[in-house]
């Protein structure tokens, strides 16, 4: 039955063979995962957010498990954009995988330069602009908390890469007015939106009576945040239907561990979904989510995943 469901998706011009991707920071650049799930069958490998220069990340402990989730405070550790372009992207191309490259920066200029170096690389279907990483030393640098800062980054990236590159703005749920931030991103040049990044959290060890993370705060992810992700996707889609937000594809992320989780996000308005923390628990998850989603769409007599996008909003 599932074979009859058309699973390819079009994200503002980026054609993906499947609506199921990995989530940034949860799959490195795909290579480690490939032993456990066929990365070439995924819609895309969303690579870990990359900055201009190599970056050590933050001190450890960087991880604290919480009920149905975890906090992380990695701090964007990575080898820098040139290593990604020279080393990781060619591997993905050779492997037949599609890349969505997550880019980050300390200011709009760094975002723009990283994006420029990545945008022309083979095999890159889209850029995801990570304006919402909570693991920066300064909360003032969480651009997605402010519409003006978000627009500054998206505008700089758009000017840097030209009109033809698909840009997804990755949003934070830790905001008062999500739609206002989304509108700022789309008006400044984003082609679509990814919702959501992690929620900022703290976990205190009652034995030591100290925070469990070395830097106190971390990003909360995993099934615990799935209802927040579904709410955010719902809100964005509802705003589009109400004419309060330009029409644009939304990529759902947050707590996806099964086909049912993915279907929730699709029905709420996501054109595609990302599998993040569930990969840590089981690296075979992305492939399984895609199979389960296709089967569930078939059971519900959808002929394409596109037909199910936002279906829960029907009158």
């Amino acid at each position: 039955m599932s074979a009859v469901v058309e699973m390819s998706v079009d994200l503002a011009g980026a054609r993906l063979r499947s609506p199921v991707m990995t989530a940034s920071g949860c799959a490195a650049a795909g290579r480690e995962l490939d032993a456990f799930t066929d990365v070439a069958a995924l819609g895309a490998v969303v690579t870990k957010s990359v900055m201009l220069a190599p970056r050590s990340g933050r001190p450890t402990p960087r991880m604290a498990e919480t009920p149905s989730g975890m906090l992380n405070s990695i701090g964007l550790q990575g080898g820098g954009v040139d290593a990604l372009v020279e080393h990781d992207l060619p591997w993905l191309v050779e492997r037949g995988a599609t890349a969505v490259v997550s880019v980050a920066g300390g200011d709009p200029e760094e975002f723009a330069e990283v994006a420029r170096r990545v945008a022309g690389a083979p095999g890159v279907a889209a850029l995801e602009v990570n304006i919402s990483c909570p693991n920066v030393a300064n909360r003032g640098l969480v651009f997605a908390c402010d519409p003006g800062s978000s627009a500054a980054v998206l505008g700089a990236v758009r000017a840097s890469v030209g009109d033809d590159v698909v840009l997804l703005a990755k949003l934070s749920p830790d905001v008062t007015d999500l739609v206002a931030v989304a509108r700022a991103c789309l008006d400044a040049g984003a082609s679509g939106l990814t919702a959501i990044n992690t929620l900022l959290g703290v976990d205190v060890d009652v034995r030591t009576m100290r925070p469990r993370l070395a830097v106190t705060t971390g990003g909360l992810s995993g099934p615990a945040i799935r209802p927040v992700a579904v709410r955010c996707v719902w809100q964005l889609r509802a705003a589009m239907l109400a004419g309060l937000l330009p029409e644009a594809p939304v990529v759902g992320a947050g707590g996806v561990a099964s086909g049912a989780d993915a279907l929730q996000l699709v029905l709420a308005g996501a054109s595609a979904v990302q599998v993040g923390t569930a990969v840590f628990a089981d690296p075979t998850t992305p492939g399984r989510v895609a199979e389960e989603l296709a089967a569930m769409l078939a059971e519900r007599r959808f002929t394409s995943v596109a037909d199910a996008v936002g279906y829960a909003h029907r009158p």
């Binding site: 949860c26 190599p54 050590s56 991880m63 149905s68 030393a137 705060t217 840590f280």
Partner: protein
């Protein structure tokens, strides 16, 4: 991708990944690592621990001493796997043996498994111990359940003609492991076993380093009267013990390979939570993943000055800071004064004095 290490072939420890390498030169899990639903063939208490014999033929086919298995806690609401050093693996029978310490609710669920239960495992993960040159004397040191793989490792070493001393220690006799390892006969995995407990309830009263100091003081080459003369120390246990072992070994001119035990989420190299500061062949320090570039590290390459966060912030021996000279380390902070903290910042998420 790891602090520029992607530019290098090999991870810079100066030693290969060992025989039957299951880790490629990028630090990714190699073709040996599989996801497998292992069936529990037997479960029995061993002192304070549980010994699980698993039917896991695909994992057992390639596992080497020093590698680990990441085990699911099932439908527990706890998302992350628990990692255990593989105690032994037999490709012929397909059996994989783990020793589990119930340290918290997740590990307690695994320790409570019974014959016939199913345990999802990812294994074998990480780099194994590199076997020292054939015939050279080796001392193995295990703290608590860290001793789990050492009899297996000893057998591999003795098969190559090495003389093997096994030193096991713990706080008390209940938390010892491998103290009954057969020794001295032709078929035994080790030549001699030495036991130390801090409370004196088994073996000598003291720590493994007290025993190790004596063994390494013997002249190189060894003899019946002075048995070891080893210049190779391979150890597995808590970080504080590994540090002490490395100091004692270093003072005696012996090289160490240390199997570290870092908190990790994924076990396969994608999450970046289990990093340690390690010096590469180029002399530069990078935060390397213990799961794929370890868990076994050359003790000389670990940045001990940055490992073990200063008290009283954390329990002794936990965590590592990023050395100021590490690749990609944050730029030095401006003088204290709080002017770097912007409106909306969360106390504690501002730049920390230790990073």
């Amino acid at each position: 991708m790891n602090d520029g290490s992607a530019h290098r072939s090999g991870h810079g420890s100066g030693r290969g990944p060992g025989e039957g390498a299951v880790v490629d030169d990028e630090g990714a899990p190699g073709p040996g690592a599989v996801s497998e639903r292992a069936r529990v063939l037997s479960a029995e208490p061993v002192g304070a621990y549980a010994r699980l014999v698993l039917a896991a033929p695909r994992s057992a086919a390639t596992a080497r001493p020093g590698q680990f298995a990441a085990c699911s806690t099932g439908d527990s609401g706890m998302l992350l796997r628990r990692s255990f050093s593989i105690s032994s693996a037999d490709p012929a029978t397909g059996e994989l043996v783990l020793v589990v310490a119930a340290a918290g609710p997740g590990t307690a669920r695994i320790a409570a498994l019974r014959e016939g239960d199913v345990l999802p495992v990812l294994a074998p993960l990480g780099r194994p111990f590199a076997l020292p040159p054939a015939g050279e004397a080796v001392v193995l040191v295990g703290g608590g359940y860290g001793a789990a793989p050492l009899a297996w490792l000893g057998a591999a070493l003795r098969a190559r003609g090495s003389s093997v001393d096994l030193v096991v220690g713990a706080g008390d006799a209940r938390r010892l492991l491998a103290q009954d390892t057969p020794a001295g006969t032709a078929s035994a995995p080790v030549d001699r076993v030495h036991v130390a407990t801090e409370d004196g309830s088994a073996g000598v009263r003291g720590r493994v380093t007290d025993v190790l100091t004596g063994l390494l003081a013997e002249p190189a080459g060894g003899s019946a009267a002075s048995p070891t003369g080893s210049r190779h120390v391979l150890a597995c246990g808590p970080m504080a013990m590994l540090r002490a072992v490395h100091e004692v070994a270093g003072a005696a001119g012996a090289a160490t390979q240390l199997a570290t035990e870092e908190s990790m989420a994924c076990g396969i190299g994608v999450c970046m939570t289990c990093v340690l500061p390690v010096v590469g062949d180029d002399g530069r320090t990078r935060m390397l993943r213990a799961c794929t570039e370890g868990p076994v590290f050359d003790g000389d390459r670990l940045r001990w000055d940055a490992i073990g966060a200063p008290a009283p912030q954390r329990p002794p021996g936990t965590g590592a800071r990023v050395p100021e000279d590490a690749v990609g380390a944050p730029a030095p902070l401006p003088p204290a004064g709080g002017d770097a903290v912007q409106p909306g910042s969360v106390p504690g998420s501002a730049p920390g004095a230790r990073s």
